[in-house]
Symmetry: C2
Subunit: 192 residues, 2 copies
């Protein structure tokens, strides 16, 4: 039957195409299907055979992003140890997915009406729980709601990703800048 060990027949590696698409669309959100195809090194027809249309491509990209983000959360073990250290680990693990995350978040707030993937709710809930846990443990202040802290985390990651892309912030400082601002704020504090 000529099926390879990968369950697919000599075909273009779907995941590889998705990664190329993610890399391109994260930089240029308005890239055309043709550009995506060329970026992935395949023909436009083939791209269309893999993904019914632009919507399908974006939704697949969303799946990929959500998977990687959940995996990042797992690796960060956000429910273990001190909450602030967990946040640190989370940002570190999420960094590689930051540009894609930024793209998907923007894409999401564009199309409002259409129901959105429930994966985001799960993701939000987990991040939110982390901040809540930190509050209950007395590590985080309680006057900033977990929902806002979650939102702010996404925002800072997005800003960080763009700042790095534009060269306004060194890539090596990405984690530090985000975590320090999120946790410690800009004001000079007594401690440390």
């Amino acid at each position: 039957m000529s099926h390879s060990v990968y369950g697919r027949l000599m075909s273009v590696d779907r995941t590889q195409v998705l990664r190329a698409a993610a890399a391109l669309l994260s930089r240029k959100a308005t890239a055309t299907m043709d550009e995506v195809a060329r970026a992935a090194g395949i023909g436009r027809a083939t791209l269309h055979r893999q993904f019914a249309g632009r919507d399908a491509l974006v939704r697949a990209l969303e799946e990929l992003g959500l998977q990687e983000l959940e995996a990042a959360q797992d690796r960060a073990r956000t429910d273990e140890g001190p909450a602030d250290e967990a946040v640190r680990r989370l940002v570190a693990e999420v960094e590689p997915v930051a540009p894609l995350l930024s793209f998907l978040v923007t894409e999401n707030q564009l199309f409002e009406g259409d129901q959105q993937n429930e994966g985001w709710a799960r993701l939000d809930a987990r991040v939110s729980d982390l901040f809540r846990r930190g509050q209950e443990e007395g590590t985080f202040r309680i006057d900033l709601t977990p929902a806002w802290l979650t939102e702010a985390l996404y925002g800072l990651i997005g800003s960080g990703a763009w700042a790095v892309q534009d060269g306004r912030v060194a890539a090596k400082d990405f984690q530090y800048m985000i975590v320090e601002l999120l946790l410690g704020g800009a004001r000079r504090s007594v401690e440390k």
Copy 2:
């Protein structure tokens, strides 16, 4: 010559159209020219007479936004008094323009190549100067660069605007959430 005191004849108030466009595009960035026209209560033809095309509209919107942002900076007197209080005033003054600012920032990072309005540079410089001043006065930590703090401020304002729009954060908490996180961070500190 029948010119009115407003220098224009009975025509649609350009600024009013721009405000309507800003309100719509801030919520739905992909709104069509026809939608913008209807939102402004005018015909599509008239909209076209006022703004050569979509690009021209966006550029005019950019002008408006930059004007209002500079005005907000002026009112906030960002070069007076303690830096942290200046930041507080700045966020308060910028709040009404937040959705538009968010739209313009997103729009800007979409079209990369084309030279961007120098107004942004002026704006960035002023915000950046504020943070730098805070650092020199010993109010702000010096391990977070002014460039990053500026970027982060934009990001948080954008996140805040969306969070309010989606009802995840109460409108009345907008300023507080942003300023407190930006200045104080999430971690519970000894002071206060």
